[in-house]
């Protein structure tokens, strides 16, 4: 039986393993990097699977449960980026960010084991949430890159811009999957694929912002600083879409997405 009381245990072990992985990235020991990071990912995933079995439903219902997936996908995104670009610092960043979300879950749980209402009992539920969380992790990493590049202004390399573009392409692809899986699911659950529910409106706004980024990079490759600023704005939209909407007066009580 898995429970939230055991979370701190799994989280500590996972974060320790990720920290070792990040440490060996600085020491340029790739094999140890993969070993420790993947071990951490496995430990963390074991907790998620355990919760899934115990709750008898996918742990994606509450904000706390979605943060669980986010903390899981950050090191996944980190190790993918590391394997292709060999940035020494990327795993330190992803570990730190995952730790932040783990701490939020430890100190402000919002994890009360809610039951799963009929509308959420669908084969679309898991893919819809998982691809969104993976996308959020990718786009979060892109945001960190944008901040990093804006702060270092003159010293930005082509490789850094290239990495940021790649993170956005993959993030946007998964954002599109999430949105369209949601539309297909909505049609089965409510009879409409798109109803301009506040969550959907913000999903559309976020999607458009990242599309501006991609087209701007194509049209004006030299103006990467504008593109970086755009990434910051886009990430704000994404945060509003994910959780900010619960605090927006325009969306309160209107959204079918408030859980």
């Amino acid at each position: 039986m898995m429970s939230w009381n055991l979370f701190i245990l799994f989280a500590l072990v996972a974060v320790a393993l990720w920290a070792f992985g990040a440490f060996f990235a600085w020491k340029e020991r790739p094999r140890l990097v993969y070993l420790f990071t993947l071990a951490g990912i496995l430990v963390f995933f074991a907790f998620i699977v355990g919760m899934w079995i115990t709750l008898e439903r996918p742990p994606m219902r509450t904000m706390g449960e979605t943060r669980l997936w986010y903390s899981f996908f950050l090191p996944v995104a980190g190790i993918i980026v590391y394997s292709r670009w060999r940035y020494k610092w990327i795993l330190s960043f992803s570990t730190l960010l995952a730790l932040v979300f783990i701490c939020v879950n430890l100190f402000k749980p919002e994890i009360h084991s809610k039951s799963l209402m009929p509308a959420l009992q669908s084969p679309w539920f898991a893919p819809h949430v998982i691809v969104y969380m993976f996308s959020y992790a990718m786009l979060g990493a892109a945001t960190i890159m944008a901040v990093y590049m804006l702060l270092r202004k003159g010293n930005t390399t082509a490789a850094e811009i290239n990495l940021t573009d790649n993170l956005v392409y993959v993030g946007l692809a998964f954002l599109t999957f999430g949105m369209l899986f949601g539309a297909l699911w909505a049609k089965e659950a409510w009879g409409t694929y798109w109803a301009w529910d506040p969550k959907e409106t913000w999903a559309a706004a976020t999607w458009l912002c990242y599309l501006v980024y991609i087209h701007l990079r194509k049209a004006r490759p030299a103006e990467w600083q504008d593109a970086c600023v755009l990434l910051l704005v886009s990430f704000v939209c994404l945060q509003i879409c994910w959780w900010g909407i619960n605090y927006l007066p325009s969306a309160r009580g209107l959204s079918v997405h408030t859980y």
């Binding site: 009992q121 290239n162 790649n166």
Partner: protein, 287 residues
């Protein structure tokens, strides 16, 4: 890109004037066959623009990503405004609380469809296998959004309350008007399971559906599992919540959406396009 910002500004201005003169957009006007005529005009217009691209600089320019940037930016800002302000049927903040019938919003989205379609056509006619990702993304979004928008007026959504033991053929629309969808539903049994905290776990209706042509279909309808009969999709919508499992009636939503095939086609093109976006369109890694 300055041209793009000027065109967008012009569309906003034109939209505001239209809103003042013609009022909000009445989407029901687009009911069949008007939507078909609009679609033909749209396709013809795009074809003409494409044919004249060498003579009219603006048409050539519209296919380029520098035309897309201002257009997408305007669309993003208007969509953000829509997300920030409460959207209500009437009242609220003038014009902006009814964004979906607000001309500037619709004109900007329409412009987006036109330039995306032009760009897709441009890549389609220079056919090469490596153009497929671009075409899927740009054509997919146009097919899905144009079909969804033009088809909206043809969509019928009705609610039918059926008491067990007495077949029902009347339903009500959004305005509360009684409508006959052309099929009758008989409720055999309504079942409901609850969680220990008495919140609903599962509710379902065992029904028979009879069509005017004399066809009859038996099936179970539950949330996330609609039943398709004669062009209608029947959804489990509600029940007598004060009586829960003892409810003597079940409420169904009946949806008829003749354009759905095209919307799905667009959505599947976009999903395939997104796969290509990450596999083939992302720039090659540079170390």
């Amino acid at each position: 890109m300055t041209e793009g910002f000027l065109i967008g500004g012009g569309l906003l201005l034109a939209g505001v004037l239209l809103r003042k003169v013609a009022g909000p957009i009445d989407w029901s006007v687009f009911a069949w066959p008007v939507n078909l005529i609009v679609l033909i005009l749209l396709v013809a217009g795009i074809g003409v623009m494409y044919a004249l691209r060498r003579r009219v600089y603006a048409f050539e320019w519209m296919m380029h990503s520098s035309a897309a940037v201002p257009c997408l930016l305007y669309a993003a800002v208007l969509t953000i405004v829509m997300g920030l302000l409460p959207q209500v049927r009437s009242g609220g903040i003038p014009w902006l609380s009814q964004m979906l019938t607000f001309w500037p919003f619709v004109l900007i989205w329409a412009w987006m469809m036109v330039i995306s379609a032009l760009a897709a056509l441009n890549h389609l006619l220079r056919w090469k296998v490596r153009e497929i990702p671009f075409i899927l993304n740009h054509l997919g979004v146009v097919v899905a959004i144009v079909a969804a928008t033009l088809g909206n007026a043809d969509t019928r959504s009705l609610q039918m309350t059926v008491f067990s033991g007495s077949p029902e053929w009347r339903a009500v629309d959004d305005e509360g008007m009684v409508q006959e969808p052309g099929l009758a539903i008989e409720l055999h049994k309504f079942t409901m399971e609850e969680y220990p905290d008495h919140s609903p776990k599962r509710f379902a209706s065992d029904i028979s559906v009879y069509t005017e042509a004399g066809q009859s279909v038996q099936g179970v309808v539950e949330v996330n599992k609609p039943l398709k009969v004669n062009g209608w999709k029947i959804y489990q919508y509600g029940y007598d919540s004060s009586r829960g499992a003892e409810s003597e009636y079940s409420v169904f939503q009946l949806v008829h959406d003749p354009w759905i095939f095209w919307v799905y086609l667009g959505i599947f093109m976009m999903i395939a396009g997104a796969v290509c976006l990450m596999l083939f369109m992302a720039p090659k890694p540079v170390r």
